[in-house]
């Protein structure tokens, strides 16, 4: 049992790496430059898998479940990062005084922020997350009906909105304090670390933070549970987009408030 368990745990992971690696090997030069971030991304779920290997499955909670939740979070984060990374750089810009330059351009502020830093490097997480989620869905034997597909698509859009919201909040906070934005890292990178354990088994405070404060479980766990039939109400899976949109809206308001504050006080 241990042998097949290990195979199933790491089999998934090695399949995931192999596909990514094969893609990499076809290219040279600048794609090789993506290697460090790729290594980082690929090895990140490793600690969960290693713990799995040692302690066995936690009830029904297998490796493919963990990696599905993780993959969905990673994908959403990558999506948000890809499109909105500019906002993430705002704290740096504010400190550098470049923000004045952006304010003087006539195009809508949010749009400019999004276009600011479109690095191909960011495809990293999107590709990895999507791949991982895809592999896990197949391993789980999920049926991709129209309803299921729709739920997943809406969920990751919600997820992207949620992460973008977190980045906006970070930017907004930077208008008021020159404090470190590392705390925000807890809600971005931290969120998909939390995916490594089943939410029911996590300490209550952690579960609540990532359901209400930064609704990670809403766009990963509940939709995945609904699509793969892990039990629990299927309807919860539809909550992702609307609630994340609300979260995003609140973040935008906070950001606008920060911009107004910045405009009125100067830098």
């Amino acid at each position: 049992m241990g042998e097949t368990f290990r195979q199933s745990t790491f089999g998934l992971w090695t399949r995931y790496i192999r596909i990514l690696a094969l893609a990499q090997l076809q290219y040279t030069g600048w794609i090789l430059g993506l290697l460090p971030s790729l290594v980082y991304t690929v090895t990140d779920p490793l600690d969960a898998l290693l713990m799995f290997d040692r302690f066995g499955a936690l009830g029904d909670w297998t490796a493919s479940r963990i990696l599905l939740v993780y993959g969905l979070a990673l994908f959403s984060f990558g999506l948000a990062e890809l499109l909105a990374r500019g906002i993430d750089y705002f704290p740096l810009l504010v400190r550098g005084g470049d923000f004045d330059r952006i304010l003087l351009r006539p195009r809508p502020l949010l749009l400019q922020a999004a276009a600011l830093r479109f690095h191909l490097n960011r495809l990293n997480r999107v590709v990895a997350g999507g791949l991982l989620a895809g592999l896990c869905l197949r391993a789980q034997g999920a049926r991709l009906t129209a309803a299921n597909a729709a739920m997943l698509v809406l969920a990751v859009i919600g997820g992207a909105l949620a992460y973008a919201g977190v980045m906006l909040i970070a930017a907004a906070v930077s208008f008021f304090t020159i404090g470190q934005s590392e705390l925000i890292n807890l809600f971005t990178n931290g969120s998909y670390q939390v995916a490594k354990a089943p939410p029911q088994l996590l300490p209550a405070w952690l579960r609540r933070v990532f359901t209400f404060a930064m609704p990670m479980f809403l766009f990963t766990y509940y939709p995945a549970a609904a699509v793969c039939g892990w039990g629990g109400s299927a309807a919860l899976g539809w909550l992702a987009l609307p609630l994340c949109a609300l979260f995003f809206g609140a973040a935008v308001m906070l950001w606008r408030f920060g911009v107004r504050h910045y405009k009125s006080t100067g830098s």
Binding site: L46, L50, M51, R54, G56, Q180
Partner: protein
């Protein structure tokens, strides 16, 4: 004072003192570290409590390892001044460093050493306090024997020297046109992981334990921290020191030779 060492001692002092004064984001960073540990320990605890397996170390020891590793991460390759030298190499500005009558390897080695030490000393205070005061399972429980803790500090210091040799090796790799940024950066990440930054090495599969124990990066962080967490017996001290020494000399030699080669190539091809 040895005249040959004078420039490097001066550089070390300057960066150490300068680094210790760097207070920006002090509390933010400290709190971030603490929360990260809470999250990681919570996840590890879930496995300990609800899983079916055995581990070579107890949950308390694992928690201690995670605390200590979070505090010691600054000493690993890839942080702080490492990034500035890294980008300097990427941009091809190394030539400007050659205008000084300094040995480039020693210059970068000493910079890394002092910078890491400064960061470590600066950040350790509040995190340590919060670690010792944390409630329940999360609390940092150090080894019972003060000798073990001392051994841990000592080997961490020697591990730091190894870590700086590793980062200089990564610089050398980066400067080599056949290797370049990508693989060299990947090497840094791999070094961090094998030093135990992702998960304490003793929680990795049993089949890998021998390999993990003897590979070079374990000596940088994981092995020293085991003494402090009580996850390794004091009797292992000589062995650990030996491992550090052997790997240290090897990596130092390799790094110097490789960097020398690349520098010679660099001044022929242009920065």
């Amino acid at each position: 004072m040895n005249a040959k060492m004078r420039p490097y001692i001066a550089l070390f002092r300057q960066r150490l003192l300068g680094g210790l004064q760097y207070r920006a984001g002090f509390w933010g960073t400290a709190i971030t570290h603490v929360v990260w540990v809470y999250v990681r320990v919570a996840i590890v605890a879930v496995f300990y409590r609800h899983g079916n397996g055995q581990a070579g170390i107890t949950l308390e020891q694992a928690a201690a390892m995670i605390w200590l590793q979070e505090m010691a991460l600054n000493l690993m390759p890839g942080f702080g001044v490492d990034t500035t030298v890294w980008s300097r190499i990427s941009r091809g500005d190394v030539g400007y460093d050659l205008v000084r009558p300094l040995d480039v390897y020693n210059h970068w080695y000493v910079s890394a050493l002092s910078d890491k030490l400064a960061r470590f000393l600066l950040s350790i205070g509040p995190v340590l306090v919060m670690a010792l005061l944390a409630p329940g399972t999360v609390r940092l429980r150090l080894a019972a024997s003060p000798l073990s803790i001392l051994a841990g500090f000592f080997t961490l210091a020697t591990g730091l020297m190894l870590s700086c040799a590793v980062i200089c090796l990564c610089y050398a790799a980066q400067m080599d046109v056949n290797v370049g940024n990508g693989p060299a950066g990947a090497l840094m990440t791999v070094a961090q992981i094998l030093a135990g930054s992702l998960l304490p090495l003793q929680l990795w599969p049993d089949a890998l334990q021998t390999f993990l124990r003897w590979q070079p990066f374990a000596s940088m962080m994981d092995l020293p921290l085991r003494f402090m967490a009580g996850a390794a017996a004091l009797s292992e001290l000589p062995q650990v020191l030996l491992t550090q020494a052997l790997w240290g000399v090897a990596i130092w030699r390799l790094g110097r030779a490789w960097m020398g080669l690349n520098l010679r190539r660099l001044i022929v091809q242009g920065g």
